[in-house]
């Protein structure tokens, strides 16, 4: 039987996939094909930019950016006759070559999908589809053939490390909770994915919620817990919905609740919806929030494994970590450990965003180089621009320069380079990205999200942001760099929780690798990337301008003057530096001047 898989992840829904589904069902009914073809709404394929994505099985045919109007063609040609609709195929960036099969697309071909394997290929709202792909087999193996200690050993053997931030070995963490005395223990799944630029946890929850539930169940069995919470951030309504459906179905079928699989193991699972605070992704803040308090982190130790929710031993892992567990139990820890590097095992999902051609989720074996991720999977930099830096690990991470492109991506190499794995956000920057502005962007974020409990983070992030803002506005002094560096180090050393301790990372890495940009802002009033508005002037090259008036007509501030077919000019006093004129100009006559160049237009 032919199956049509239509992505119903947040991204594709936003691009209109619900309409495509409705139209397809209508069309199949009309052509009397409804009985022979099964339409499945799946989770995210991680290639949201190309959405809505439609896959036809068998044949592995991959259609992208499918709209309602394309549906009749898909039905008439592909579904009825097995022909491919060429115009809907994905074209490789660069070569422009159309690719028919999903697995032949470079973006996917170089990936190794363990965690994302089911995402986009099963209906996340249908437990049977999960069961059909060995779902709950890991749990079955753990519950029926292994002792709790053996499960922990298996996870330790796999070498799995926490995918949410610092990379603590998962099996060791479980062992702590297992060893903590207590009649009541909890398992918590951190689904408060808040790093700007990271969306792998959302995709997993939307595409394969049962995998996360199965991971939590295995953990519950291993540490001796009978209750769990999934803390989902408020901004993910679809993920929350899918989880609710999955929990209800799993409960119905005896995978959750009392006497699971007839083994006497009990486990109930509740969803806690976040209320909008990034800091709640920090594990102690998350627990405080579950308890109904202001999400302010607590001092560790005692660690959650000893005193977690309501002072009971609690094991907390993030979505991606739990999603790795079923496959480890199914295929064994040593199999899992064969993937990756010496100290970083398995795969990691990265969210590729920024100035990269293929925006999306890429799951790769640990140890692959940054270059492979960005250029082979990501397709390189947009518009033929030059790669400048990659920001890895979100607001807690750092910016790495092109000299480090061949750095293997694993926990330890990244930390050594001043960044961190974090949740796996990977924001690619090109020559038009100002590194001081990037640091300011992240500090603005952490400053807003600081809980306010400890002095260094509450006051320190504010002052660091102010210094950075001064520099981007051309009001910085050389002593500011020294002051910034000193403050960054103290905040890193003294803040109470992970948010504060890592907040200075974007500053420290940009100072380490792009110090010259800071100096240019201060000493030459120049923003080399021509981003910082206060340091640039828009200027029309008089010889290149042909007086087409497109720029003047598009200028919202009426800052551009000039007669038709005469060179135009920009009044710097009126110009709001929005950049629309540059996009409109076909002659490449409008440029941004910075530093000494600006004297050209000083009257």
């Amino acid at each position: 039987m032919r199956r049509v898989l239509i992505c119903a992840g947040t991204g594709c829904v936003a691009s209109g996939s619900r309409k495509v589904t409705a139209r397809l069902k209508e069309e199949l009914d009309r052509q009397g094909l409804a009985e022979q073809i099964k339409v499945v709404n799946t989770g995210c394929h991680g290639f949201c930019e190309q959405g809505p994505i439609v896959i036809v099985e068998p044949g592995d045919i991959f259609y992208c950016q499918v709209q309602e109007k394309d549906v009749p063609d898909i039905v008439a040609k592909t579904l009825a006759n097995g022909e491919v609709v060429d115009r809907l195929l994905f074209k490789e960036p660069g070569s422009g070559q159309a690719v028919t099969r999903y697995h032949d697309i470079h973006f996917y071909a170089k990936q190794q999908r363990l965690v994302l394997k089911n995402c986009g290929h099963i209906d996340p709202e249908n437990l049977d589809e999960y069961l059909a792909v060995e779902g709950y087999e890991g749990l079955k193996r753990a519950l029926t053939t292994m002792t709790r200690e053996q499960v922990i050993e298996e996870v330790k053997l796999s070498g799995l490390r926490g995918r949410g931030g610092a990379g603590f070995p998962t099996g060791v963490k479980w062992e702590f909770a297992y060893n903590s005395p207590g009649d009541k223990k909890y398992v918590v799944c951190n689904a408060d994915e808040g790093d700007p630029g990271a969306f792998m946890d959302r995709s997993i929850l939307e595409g394969d919620p049962h995998a996360v539930i199965e991971g939590m169940l295995i953990c519950g069995y291993a540490i001796g817990a009978d209750e769990g919470y999934i803390y989902v951030r408020a901004e993910y309504p679809l993920a929350t919905h899918r989880l609710r459906v999955a929990i209800a179905q799993a409960t119905d079928r005896g995978y959750l609740g009392e006497n699971i699989l007839g083994t006497g193991f009990n486990f109930k699972l509740k969803i806690k919806e976040g209320a909008g605070a990034f800091v709640c992704g920090e594990e102690t803040a998350l627990l405080t929030s579950i308890e109904g308090n202001r999400g302010m982190p607590r001092v560790r130790p005692p660690f959650p494994a000893v005193k977690g929710i309501w002072e009971k031993p609690t094991n907390i892992n993030n979505v991606e970590t739990f999603a790795n567990v079923p496959v480890i139990l199914r295929k064994g820890g040593s199999w899992y450990a064969s993937i990756g590097t010496e100290r970083s095992k398995g795969t990691k999902v990265f969210a590729l965003t920024g100035k990269i051609i293929n925006t999306g989720l890429a799951e790769v074996p640990m140890g692959i180089t940054m270059r492979e991720i960005i250029f082979d999977i990501g397709g390189g930099i947009q518009k033929g621009k030059e790669f400048k830096a990659v920001q890895i690990g979100g607001p807690s991470g750092g910016c790495l320069p092109k000299e480090l492109l061949d750095l293997p991506v694993d926990y330890d190499s990244l930390t050594q380079a001043g960044a961190m794995m974090g949740s796996g956000g990977l924001v690619v920057m090109d020559e038009t990205t100002c590194m001081v502005d990037v640091a300011r962007f992240f500090l603005n974020f952490t400053q807003k999200e600081s809980c306010g409990k400890c002095t260094p983070c509450r006051e320190g992030t504010k002052r660091m942001l102010e210094i950075l803002t001064r520099i981007t506005e051309g009001k910085g002094e050389m002593t500011d760099i020294e002051r910034l560096e000193r403050l960054a180090k103290v905040v890193k050393n003294t803040a109470l929780c992970g948010l504060g301790q890592t907040a200075p990372n974007p500053i420290l890495t940009t100072l380490r690798y792009f110090r010259d940009e800071y100096e240019a802002h201060i000493n030459e009033a120049s923003c080399p990337a021509r981003v910082c508005k206060e340091l640039i002037t828009y200027w029309i090259h008089q010889e290149k301008c042909n007086g087409c008036t497109r720029c003047a007509r598009s200028c919202a501030s009426s800052a551009i003057a000039g007669a038709a077919k005469q060179p135009h000019s920009i009044d710097p006093a009126k110009c709001s530096k929005c950049g629309v004129c540059i996009e409109k100009c076909r002659q490449g006559a409008i440029v941004k001047l910075t530093g000494k160049e600006r004297q050209l237009v000083k009257h």
Partner: protein, 353 residues
Amino acid sequence: MSTVTLTIDGIKVTVPEGTTVLEAARQAGIAIPTLCHDPELSAPGACRLCVVEIQNMRNLPASCVTTAAEGMVVSTCSETVVEARRTILELLLANHPEDCLTCAKSGECALQDYAYQYGVRKAGFAGERHDYPLDESNPFIVRDLNKCILCGKCVRACDEIQGRTVINFAFRGFATKVATPMDLPLGESDCVFCGSCISVCPVGALTPKQMLGTGRVWEMRKVRTICPYCGTGCTIELNVKDGKVVGITSTPEGTVNGRALCVKGRFGYNFIHHPDRLTAPLIKQPDGSFREADWDEAIALVAEKFGAIKTAHGSDALAVMASARCTNEDNFLANKLARAVFGTNNIDHCARL
């Protein structure tokens, strides 16, 4: 009880298991600055001023919430530690009015003392400062949140000592402030003005209104005594300047009450020097007015009248009501007067009510 031995600044210290590094250091006579720490309150580890360097530990842990462990090697005054503390003080001062000249807390302000100790002359970081209105909505407590360093001791005192929980942290990040529900002035909240918050505030954010302008801290003589109101017997300290009581404070050494007092005990002392206070006996005239008399005349008159009543109606026609404001000695004598002189057991005391 088992003990652990650790080394702090080269000194070996043995402390009971569970002791914090801060307490251990203090036992060894090593001073570590703290702002949010208070032995009577729970420990949030929030101000980070008490950070120390501990071998094999990442970053600089806060000593107030780090438990001493066997073999730990702690440095409380390494260059990194001093640099961190100095920076934290600079950060606090960057968001704190520089008005020590007129601040009521000057002289017993922890922030001022530490700034002096660590040689922090200026804030060091220019930028936004809080600009909250002064809360003078009530007769007892002046709240100047611009001076608040968010150590949270007042929040914990209100909750953990007084059990009122009228104030709490509100908002977050740089906008965090200590607030009443709906951020109303204290006078419009459920506050009972026990002033426990004032007693724990390390800076000038919370000050007793009645003491404003009455003298500098170092001009006050503190006279420890017992609160004259009820029978609880709270320890108070009279703040005496030029022979006048200008305020009452509490002390952690108060055996019954610690630093807690009630609104009357802490703020109800104006009667002492009040012009309406009776300082000489008055005798009522036939027309209803009072005439000042001396003690000999007054006592003779009272004795005569009591004697007349006792003769006419018997001893039990008399009764004595003693006051809690009197000293124990006074009350003892009142008891003697009733039983031995009047011959009645009709005696009671207001604190029993």
